[in-house]
Each structure stands twice: as structure tokens, then as C-alpha cells.
């Protein structure tokens, strides 16, 4: 049994998706965010942490701890924020 030779024909055109941006590069300056912005980010983060806490039962936590790799585990199916 052999496979023979099929048409290769894979020759996709290179498509840069029009993403090239030729805008002039700005000089390097440090942008310091306002304190309110930093505070809002930290608050949003704390809320998301609380959300994660709220959806994870001790049983689910136990199940997750036995999985060897956590990325994209079935318990979360890769979505964020986590689902109940």
C-alpha cells in the first residue's frame, strides 16, 4: 500500500492584514498614570479575585489540584471570567 504523490499546491499568498503602521515613533517618555486610575485597576482586580473565589467550590478546588496542567482545564474551558 502506498500513498502516491498528491498535488502539493500549498502556496497561500502572504497576507499582512494591513497591520503595518508607519506612524512616526514617539520619543521615550515615562507616562505616570493618575492615582485614581491605579486605584480603579486594583479595585477591579480585587473584584475579579472575589469572583474567582465565589465560583470555586472546595470540591472543584480539590479536582483542579489533581490536574497536572492547569491551562485550559475542563473545569474552566478556557473562558474568562470563570463560569459557574
Amino acid at each position: 500500500m502506498t500513498l502516491g504523490t498528491a498535488e502539493t499546491g500549498v502556496n497561500f499568498p502572504f497576507d499582512p492584514h494591513g497591520l503595518i503602521d508607519t506612524a512616526p515613533i514617539q520619543s521615550i517618555t515615562e507616562f505616570v498614570p493618575e492615582a485614581e486610575t491605579v486605584e480603579a485597576e486594583r479595585e477591579a482586580f480585587a473584584q475579579l479575585i472575589a469572583e474567582i473565589d465565589s465560583v470555586v467550590s472546595p470540591e472543584l478546588e480539590e479536582e483542579l489540584s489533581t490536574l497536572t496542567m492547569c491551562k485550559g482545564s475542563k473545569a474552566y474551558d478556557g473562558a474568562f471570567p470563570v463560569k459557574k
Binding site: 500513498l3 502516491g4 502556496n11 482586580f45 497536572t68 491551562k71 471570567p81
Partner: protein, 529 residues
């Protein structure tokens, strides 16, 4: 040409050696004065981490990269060639440069390039355990290569060669073995810890930004640093590069790259996985030219080679990557299993789902390989960080040094100390990204892209059919070792072509066929198996 290559003939080991150092065509070259033989060639590099070659008062040669007196967290490689002919090599924690060493009883060699190490030695014995790993790499990390005379020098290890004898000293032992045993971390500290590491990266490497390119896949890890830098230092990220995926993944990847472009505004460089000039194993397909291969090879070296040469031609000397980002959040339940070593890995391999064409002879060899794996110490960094070495090697040989903010022991230990619910699905990193109002398509993507479908398309086009037929007839794996049943393999591939296999099964069969072909090509270099 290799970044670092040492070749040492032990026939004159009783002599007192005198060395000469020269700068020739961009390399430090160390020769033996008596024989005029070249012993060391090291690429001269002024950009980070910088290489050096010093002739010491004692007559010894001291060369390597990074600081000559390096701190424990610094990136370095030290090689000392003493006047009595002894050679000592000390590695750092990061091991950015792959380093292969070999000894065949008459010649000792050290090189970042497996091919160069191979060519220097006259004896090459197949490591049969490595062959099993070649066909199904699992999660293994070990010092073996496909050649029993060649090994890798790993994290914090010290190698001494004197009078024809090798002595390998391990680095300090890891203090915890499973993620649950890592010192606990407070998730609310995540922002400050992560951003502290980003700030340190900017402080250390900001002066190289003009010569740097940021590798962007569109994923969370590679996007983090350039987005962070762009928020803090608008305009500092000047260049970005990407390897474009194919098929439906190209659409979702383009969405992500477009979102990044809106925030970062870099000059972009692209290569495409479907570039017809860079197909995997194209030399083998078109000319039956079988080059030396090691199972450490990434599988699409042709494209990486093209990518690195393009970036080098554009003046890039540093590439920032997202390497090690996934590994921060891994859950390691058993370190030996994670390393593909020992009884746990062997037991798991007993029940692992293979393809229909992998035989029980293979499974038995694969299980044995886990038990036979040699290692000195458990690595302090995440296992997969070191498996990425061959990918980085391509860039280094083109004068581009890879840097990732995630390959950092302190950050890794902090993340490993987080409760599992924050590490699973990289939830805490996604929460951070959402709180920072980064593009939603980055932290909550529609698709988790990978280059696998490109390989599917290429195989289904028939591009490899003749090569498959050739190795079904001449292949050692099939005909000598009996690890692959060629009739079942061909039947499975015909099922792939006719569409009778489910997409997931088809991709798995194609990927493992690809590994088999790579292994067959690699085996052709061994005179005796």
C-alpha cells in the same frame, strides 16, 4: 556557525599548554600554540549579555558571556581552559544558550549547536531511550540527546574535563517538589509582583529597546510586556514581529494583532507558517538530503531560521518573548512525572492513549525510557522553560538574544504559591489583564491558536507522501525497531485524507507522523543502531 564551539583532543593531555587568542571574523578564537589547532570559537557580542575572552596571568583562558564575576541571579556562562589542559564550564540558572557536550574517548566537545558537537565526535551511538522520546516527547526533560556520547549541560551545573575524565557537579537542589508545597502567596500581591518584574526588565534592558523586537503571537504572555511598556513609555516598543498562523486561526490571530497594533504602534515584521520556501523537512522531501537531527529540534527549524535571519537583517539584536508564561501557572502534582521520569511517568505511559499505529513494542520502550532517564537534579525553574532551548538557539546564532520577563525564579515561585483556582486557566493573569483594560480578545480569546492546523494542511496536501512511502520501506523505526506499524500508519493517513477521522484524531495522527519522519531522518545518521 555555532555561537560557541570547543574541540579538545586529549592525545596531548600530559603537556603544559600555551594558548593564543585572536579576534577573527567576529569570533574570539583560542588556539593551541604548539599545534596551532583551534580549541575555542566564541562569537564576539557587544550587546547584552556580551561575550568576553581573557588571557589570564596563569596562562589560562577565561571566556564566556555575561559578567565575569556574576551574581547568583545574573545570566552568564563561564568557560575556563587551564594551562594543564583541564576545562571547566559553569552554567547559570537561565541557560538561555543551549549547551551540548560530548566525549567519545578521544575528543571532548562543547557547543551550543548539536550538529557541531556531532560533527566533532567520531563515535555516535544511538540512545534507544531517546528514540522513544523522539517519537512521543511527552513532557520529558533530561540530559540525554539522541546520541549517547552527547548530553546537555543544564541549570547551574558545573562540568570539569581533566585528563580524559568528565566530572559533572549538580546545582543546588530545589526546595519544593510539587506546586502544593510551594510557599503560599497572596493573590492580591499579584499586580505588584508582576509589575515589579516588568519594571526590572525595563530598567535592565530599556537601553536595548532600539535594537529589540517584541515577538507577539497574539496570546496573553507575549502581549504582556509590550503592552505594559507602551502604557508606561509610549513609543518605546518600536518593532514587533509575528509568526502568522494559517486557516481559521489566522483570522482570530489577526484580530489580536490588530488590537495590539492599536495600543503599541510598532513597525511589524511577519513570517508565515505557510511560506512555501520554509516547509519543515523540505530538504528531505525534495533532495532526500537527511541532515543530522536531534529530538530537541523544534520541528519547524526552516521557518525559524528564515524568521531569525530576517530579524537579524533588520538590525534586531534582542528579542523579547513570552517564554515561560504558561509555566508560571502550571500545576505540578509530581515532579518526576512532570519531568517524564521514573515510576510515575512509566505508569502513566502504560495507560496513555497513543495512535493506532504505535505498537505495544513502542509502548514498552517508551515506558522503559522513563525509567532509564538520567538527570542530576530537579530544575529550579519550570521544566518546559528549558525545553524551549532549541528555539532560542536559532535566534542566538543570528545574533539575537532572547529575553523573557517570565523566566525568573522569584516570579515563578510566587505564582506557584498561589492557590490552584488562580493558576487554573491562568485566571489571575486574565483578571490582571481585564483590570488593566487590556484588549478583551487577548485575555478572553475566541480561540486558543496553535500552528497545528498548518501541519494538517501540509500533510493533507500530499507534500510528504513520497517521504512517508520512502521510510515505510527504508525506515529503521518501522522495519528494525517495530515501533510503528506501517500498514496501520498508511491506513490511518488514508483515513485522514478521506475525512473519515475526527479532526482531533486527524491532527494527532498527523503530528505523530511528523515526529516519526523526523526520527527516521535522524536515525539515518547513525552508522550502527
Amino acid at each position: 556557525m555555532a555561537f560557541l564551539h570547543l574541540s579538545w583532543d586529549i592525545q596531548h593531555h600530559n603537556q603544559k599548554y600555551a594558548y593564543r587568542t585572536q579576534r577573527i571574523n567576529g569570533y574570539y578564537v583560542v588556539t593551541d600554540v604548539a599545534t596551532n589547532k583551534t580549541i575555542v570559537r566564541l562569537r564576539i557580542r557587544d550587546d547584552y549579555p556580551g561575550t568576553f575572552c581573557v588571557h589570564e596571568e596563569s596562562g589560562a583562558i577565561f571566556c564566556g558571556y555575561g559578567p565575569q564575576k556574576a551574581g547568583k541571579d545574573e545570566e552568564f556562562l563561564h568557560l575556563r581552559l587551564a594551562s594543564d589542559g583541564s576545562i571547566t564550564i559553569q552554567r547559570d540558572l537561565l541557560c538561555t544558550l543551549a549547551l551540548f557536550y560530548g566525549y567519545d574517548g578521544s575528543t571532548f566537545t562543547v557547543s551550543n549547536n548539536f550538529h557541531s558537537a556531532w560533527d566533532t565526535l567520531t563515535k555516535h551511538t544511538l540512545d534507544k531511550a531517546a528514540l522513544a522520546e523522539w517519537l512521543l516527547p511527552d513532557l520529558s526533560w533530561r540530559r540525554q540527546t539522541s546520541c549517547m556520547e552527547i548530553h546537555t549541560l543544564n541549570e547551574l551545573e558545573k562540568l570539569n574535563f581533566r585528563n580524559g575524565k568528565l566530572k559533572l557537579s549538580p546545582g543546588p537542589a530545589r526546595t519544593w517538589m510539587a506546586s502544593r508545597d510551594a510557599p503560599p502567596s497572596n493573590p492580591h500581591d499579584f499586580i505588584s509582583v508582576l509589575e515589579k518584574h516588568a519594571d526590572v526588565t525595563i530598567e535592565r534592558f530599556g537601553k536595548y529597546f532600539d535594537a529589540a523586537v517584541f515577538e507577539l503571537s497574539g496570546g496573553l504572555d507575549s502581549s504582556f510586556l509590550p503592552l505594559y511598556i507602551s502604557q508606561k513609555h509610549p513609543g518605546a516598543v518600536k518593532r514587533a514581529s509575528s509568526m502568522l498562523l494559517t486557516g481559521h486561526f489566522r483570522e482570530t490571530q489577526a484580530e489580536k494583532l490588530g488590537a495590539l497594533d492599536q495600543r503599541i504602534h510598532p513597525e511589524w515584521f511577519y513570517v508565515s507558517f505557510d511560506d512555501p520556501a520554509c516547509r519543515p523537512m523540505q530538504d528531505a522531501v525534495t533532495t532526500r538530503k537527511f541532515a543530522v537531527r536531534n529530538y530537541w529540534a523544534p520541528g519547524f527549524e526552516e521557518l525559524l531560521e528564515h524568521y531569525a535571519s530576517q530579524l537579524s537583517a533588520k538590525g534586531c539584536r534582542i528579542i523579547f518573548t513570552g517564554d515561560g508564561g504558561d509555566e508560571l501557572f502550571d500545576n505540578m502534582t509530581d515532579i518526576e512525572d512532570s519531568l517524564g521520569l521514573g515510576k510515575a511517568a512509566s505508569e502513566r505511559r502504560l495507560s496513555e492513549s497513543l495512535t493506532p499505529f504505535h505498537t505495544e513494542i513502542f509502548r514498552s520502550a517508551w515506558r522503559t525510557a522513563a525509567l532509564q532517564a538520567k538527570f542530576m537534579n530537579y530544575p529550579q525553574l519550570a521544566v518546559n522553560v528549558h525545553r524551549a532551548l532549541p528555539l532560542r538557539n536559532v535566534f542566538i546564532e543570528h545574533g539575537i538574544w532572547p529575553i523573557s520577563p517570565f523566566i525568573n525564579k522569584e516570579l515563578y515561585y510566587f505564582c506557584q504559591g498561589l492557590p490552584i483556582r488562580y493558576r487554573a486557566n491562568k485566571n489571575i493573569f486574565r483578571a490582571y489583564s481585564q483590570a488593566k483594560r487590556l484588549p478583551a480578545c487577548i485575555y478572553n480569546p475566541r480561540a486558543d491558536e496553535h500552528p497545528g492546523n498548518f501541519l494538517d494542511e501540509l500533510y493533507l496536501s500530499g507534500y510528504y507522501n513520497e517521504l512517508i512511502d520512502y521510510f515505510c520501506t527504508h525506515g529503521m523505526v518501522v522495519n528494525h525497531f517495530g515501533y510503528i506499524d506501517k500498514n496501520v500508519l498508511l491506513k490511518t493517513l488514508l483515513g485522514c485524507f478521506s475525512g473519515t477521522l475526527k479532526a482531533e484524531e486527524r491532527s494527532k495522527a498527523i503530528f505523530l507522523t511528523h515526529l516519526w519522519l523526523q526520527a527516521e531522518i535522524g536515525l539515518t545518521q547513525f552508522k550502527e543502531t
